[in-house]
Symmetry: C2
Subunit: 534 residues, 2 copies
Amino acid sequence: MNRSNGSPSDRSITRSGATLAASDFLQLNPADAPRGGMSDWLARQIRRAVAEGLLPPGSRLPATRVLADELGVSRGVVTEAYRRLTEDGHVEGRGRAGTVVLAAPLVRPPEDGLVEREHGGRGQAGRGPVGHRAEGRGTGERRAAARRAEEGGSTSEERALFGDPLDTGVFDALRAAPARVDLSPGLPDLAAFPRAAWLRAERAVLAGLVPADFGYGDPRGTPALRRAVARWLALNRGIAADPDEVLIVAGTAQALGLLALMLKDEGVTRVALEDPSSLGIRQHLRNSGLASPPVPVDERGVRVDALRATGARVALLTPAHQFPTGVVLDGVRRRELADWARDGGLIIEDDYDAEHRYDRPPVPALRSTLADHVAYAGSVSKLLAPALRVGWLLAPRRYRDALVDAKRFADLGNAALPQLVLAHLMESGELERHLRFLRRRHRGRRDAMIAALADRLPGAVVHGAAAGLHLTVTLEPGCDDVALAAAALERGVKVQPLSWHAQRPGRPGLVLGYAASTPSDIREGVSVLGDLLR
Amino acid sequence: MNRSNGSPSDRSITRSGATLAASDFLQLNPADAPRGGMSDWLARQIRRAVAEGLLPPGSRLPATRVLADELGVSRGVVTEAYRRLTEDGHVEGRGRAGTVVLAAPLVRPPEDGLVEREHGGRGQAGRGPVGHRAEGRGTGERRAAARRAEEGGSTSEERALFGDPLDTGVFDALRAAPARVDLSPGLPDLAAFPRAAWLRAERAVLAGLVPADFGYGDPRGTPALRRAVARWLALNRGIAADPDEVLIVAGTAQALGLLALMLKDEGVTRVALEDPSSLGIRQHLRNSGLASPPVPVDERGVRVDALRATGARVALLTPAHQFPTGVVLDGVRRRELADWARDGGLIIEDDYDAEHRYDRPPVPALRSTLADHVAYAGSVSKLLAPALRVGWLLAPRRYRDALVDAKRFADLGNAALPQLVLAHLMESGELERHLRFLRRRHRGRRDAMIAALADRLPGAVVHGAAAGLHLTVTLEPGCDDVALAAAALERGVKVQPLSWHAQRPGRPGLVLGYAASTPSDIREGVSVLGDLLR
């Protein structure tokens, strides 16, 4: 399945700079393509080659002109195929350096549109995934983990830390554990937090407040921030919304909690989840008493046919950058999903890191075309800092009053001062500048991680590099990713096992955040992983 | 019942400066006193005189030596009686100016320890009280109120605003209504918010943060703030608590929500409430699906015998300064309450404004002696600003893990930056300085309101002046306080009707915040009320 098997194709691929004798090497035969579907067919063949490790990250695709000549098709066909591969994050255009393979989808490309996910690994049904949002009890939990390690006879405290992903303290315990290099996913570069700009904005805000602004406020949030968020979403996520539709919340965790309250009042008992997906979110639904039937994800995104089969009325999805696989929901699935929603489905769109798209503007949010069927949740956790605890929720009109009431009783509304500072940063263009800065910096770190993985983990397949703050790597079937993460922690490197994030048995792997670590830390961390895998 | 009836006692009382021929005027006969209970008896007689309007606010009590001579008792007896009256907020020592009547208890003093509350007014059973915490939906709700006014044939939009106190939007509607003078209770002087100190502290905090501080944090709150709060509570509220016992929350509203979740999981269906008490809190319990059996309050505080009679296992109380009556729970009731708690009762102590005590240090919190039976909730809403949405909850040990989990799933913990700024203000002594400043300023405003009431509302009886940010006045039985509040709003003055805050029929009145208004605004507002009552 991947390069470490020493597949015969190895002979003709070099890690970087090699131009493929593509039609030959990939055994492409344009006669196999369906009529009128040449670009689609070509993109699918290349995806498969990437997934199978024939085209590892860093490989360069042939120039469009060269491949078109080889295949005897028009150059437009190849250009269109490359465009699609770029869009879903497999490859990236790098100007004169050509088109380079970034990462593979988590799954084998479908032969018939309905292919199963690859199965492998430890077959530990019921084991959960890890969330990109995380929380916990700290030292107490850590002690409990240590105790469990002793009682259960596990080999180490580190192993115990990863013991039960549905234990709500698991993230706290992992966060509290000391580590030299932290490759946990879900964090932007926190060292880049714009302290000076924040303080300047706060000074300006404080100078302009009237006494009533320090009193009890509108539970929906300050008008200034609701206006700023509406504008931000229009510019960055293609969403046309009135500020009155925006509910300011304490991050996506609270958005989920308020939605769960409301849904339970409506009699909803299940919220379908992509599988794999965020463990933090699965813990959250579980805490709210909601079941989370798993829906497989393939290279096009969530499997809408499987979603229908669950019978769930509500689905929580990450369409712009599926967590943790990094797949971008494609046009076909978007249309299927729209049909499902119009048949009475509600989509909770968790748009957790879509602004961090590296190759081109982010794909528009589902909310942009399905306002009546999507409850859209976003936050500044990946834009600025999770510690700010500010997010937004845009729900279909029929839910709005109930959500405002739920927010009122939850906390009477977010704190005013940080809202106003944030609005100031948004309206002044500072946040946009910060995001551009982060994109450049994160991209460099992503590339450093891809390079380090190619160098130190040649057996791993990399997924989801087109956007976001993390990569997912899949490993040999049979590899115990929990043991690997525990061993890494013992050597001072924090990572999350992919199996934490899966409800059903699946390929083992690791979820690796790169945005919050320096390139040298990334290299050091990946190097430790490589040593452990050898 | 009060001075506007032209009671015969008027002849011997002047508004200020008059020394009473007390034993004569009050018809005190020491022979009526029980053996060994002379001080207690004397205090009771004076309380009754205050409650009945014989001693209106501003009256000066006889010097202890004079009264002791007149009554033929030792001077210590009188001193002790005055001490008790001072403690429960009836009178205040003013050095050379003597001992002056501040305000009356809401109820007639008990003859047999179990006297009923005075009944009067409109007999509108089921009508609710208004909270000192408030929230809502703004213009939409305002429009709805206007619509209700039209549909219901009410005389004005203002009347409709006060229409249904259990409508969760009622506070928003009232807050959104324009007014020249806002005498809503529950706000400190917001113009005094220490902007410069806050900004200085924020600069210092930002300079000292490491990147991880911007990430996901401990859901219990930052260690720095938990330490600072523990110290604050030790110094100001007599509570000895470890920082690990402190849970930082988004204000008392969230503390209540988290407690409600936990209690419902335990099978609790009812939380007994003082009557009258905060409408905001009653709305909150109702929203959580908890009933709130009413427990009468008399001049000693909540009636513990009546609490027992409800059969409720949990009671939410405001012992330091009962909302809205201002009664301070006395020693006898404290002991009764401790017995009730040790028999299996849980007390939720809402310590909403106890730091604002004017005559002497605040009475210690119940939590200080009943750690295993009290869930203690406090916040900075009355110390700095409600807009900060920061509070703390200290619960009995057995509830702590469940509450941390509830907080985690609510919002993953409060925002870090404001917590750290607040900790800085607490540890540097800035908050203590601010509180001292506020106490002086609030005291001046309280006195201005008492003077204005004596001048413009001579028929009103004033209650609860020893502490806090508001006064309660009771009016003639038969007065419609909702109509009065609506008419006041029509004339640009915002007040809350006392009947909003009562579950059972009671004396009509108004709850008047003074802390957030200037003395001249207070005089203007009270003047409007006086005109309306004439």
